[in-house]
């Protein structure tokens, strides 16, 4: 279709769709008496939280009652990260050069000491915050998913401090992908633990502990840690893949 024709066709369809959305959303407004059943979320928050020694109802829903959804999310991250590395794998017509400044095309000069100190100085508090989020998922907002991203941000600060080449040497090409796979595989292992020791796959078969403790909530903190490490490694893998693309890989025949 021509660009103008496509825009017109889309606008016609979107106008009808928005009208229908408004029409349907209007049914959500108060006026119709609510149904007899209370919502699952409210039931879980009011009745089951104390049973499982969990303070944050979101963790109870996300990592216990609906923990299968969290597994799906973890494997979605695996599929996306594995896909990204597959799509961005170096082709025969590319070569890995030295880190180049993409604005000027010159080899990156060493980062100034001020930036280094700032970046490296911010790393420990960021990592600590990430660890706090990962380990306190059942007690306060946060958990493996959020904490994992914060942990990845902490590692990234090291890169921003200009240590890209230094850190890249520490692990092999696909080590990060393997770390992510270990995290996601760990969630499946916890699932099998529930099958072996408890009533069903993903059952919360560990001792529940005392409400408010870091080790309370049975498998919830375990899932948080496994997911947190997996997500952190996965995000670092994503960002370094992009960094590798941006800074190191050059098409063959490009000017040095």
């Amino acid at each position: 279709m021509s660009i103008a024709g496509r825009r017109a066709a889309f606008l016609a369809g979107a106008a009808v769709l928005v009208a229908l959305l408004t029409w349907g959303f209007a049914g959500l407004l108060p006026g119709r008496p609510a149904g007899p059943t209370p919502r699952v979320g409210d039931l879980l928050a009011s009745a089951s939280g104390p049973d499982r020694h969990v303070v944050d109802p979101v963790a109870l829903v996300g990592l216990d009652a609906r923990s299968l959804d969290a597994l799906v999310a973890a494997f979605t991250v695996v599929a996306a990260v594995a896909g990204t590395t597959l799509v961005l794998r170096a082709r025969p017509d590319e070569w890995a050069g030295h880190a180049l400044d993409f604005a000027t095309g010159r080899r990156v000069p060493p980062t100034s000491d001020a930036v280094r100190v700032l970046g490296l100085g911010l790393t420990p508090p960021t990592v600590l915050f990430g660890l706090y989020l990962v380990t306190h998922g059942q007690l306060s907002p946060g958990g493996g998913f959020q904490g994992g991203v914060v942990l990845a941000a902490g590692v990234l600060l090291i890169y921003l401090a200009g240590e890209f080449e230094d850190l890249h040497g520490l692990y092999g090409d696909r080590a990060l992908e393997r770390g992510l796979a270990a995290g996601a595989g760990g969630t499946v292992a916890i699932g099998f633990l529930g099958l072996a020791a408890g009533p069903a796959f993903l059952a919360n078969a560990l001792p529940l502990g005392r409400t408010g403790d870091v080790l309370s909530g049975g498998t919830i903190p375990l899932l948080d840690v496994v997911l947190g490490l997996g997500i952190a490694v996965g995000f670092v893998a994503l960002l370094t893949t992009f960094l590798h693309q941006a800074i190191v890989l050059r098409p063959l025949g490009a000017r040095r």
Binding site: L11, T22, F25, A34, D42, P57, V61, V81, G83
Partner: protein, 107 residues
């Protein structure tokens, strides 16, 4: 929250899709998609907020919807990264970012 929230959700969904359909740059196209994505979060919030729920008033947004949205936020950005990786590869192959430059008449 409910009334305004649903209107904002419908708006965000439509304007994000408009950005996708009329985009002349693949990076822009992928980012526009995240605007439509935000509409689903706003709708979940509007649905899960206190006033929209039956029964006694609760303290926070429905935990089921919070769990769904907070996980989805993290998953969505990984998918965006995968799409951006495809965009980077497209640019390597063609030197262009125009979605319409990728079209090819079939036989």
């Amino acid at each position: 929250m409910t009334a305004l929230g649903t209107i904002v959700a419908a708006w965000l969904f439509a304007i994000g899709l408009y950005g996708v359909v009329t985009s002349r740059n693949l990076v822009h196209l992928v980012v526009s998609l995240s605007v439509s994505q935000a509409s689903t979060y706003v709708l979940l919030l509007a649905v899960g907020t206190r006033a929209a729920r039956p029964g006694p008033p609760a303290r926070a947004v429905d935990p089921v919807l919070q769990a769904l949205a907070s996980t989805d936020v993290v998953v969505a950005v990984v998918i965006a990264a995968l799409l951006l990786a495809l965009v980077v590869q497209v640019h390597k192959r063609t030197g262009s970012l125009d979605p319409d430059a990728l079209r090819r008449l079939p036989e």
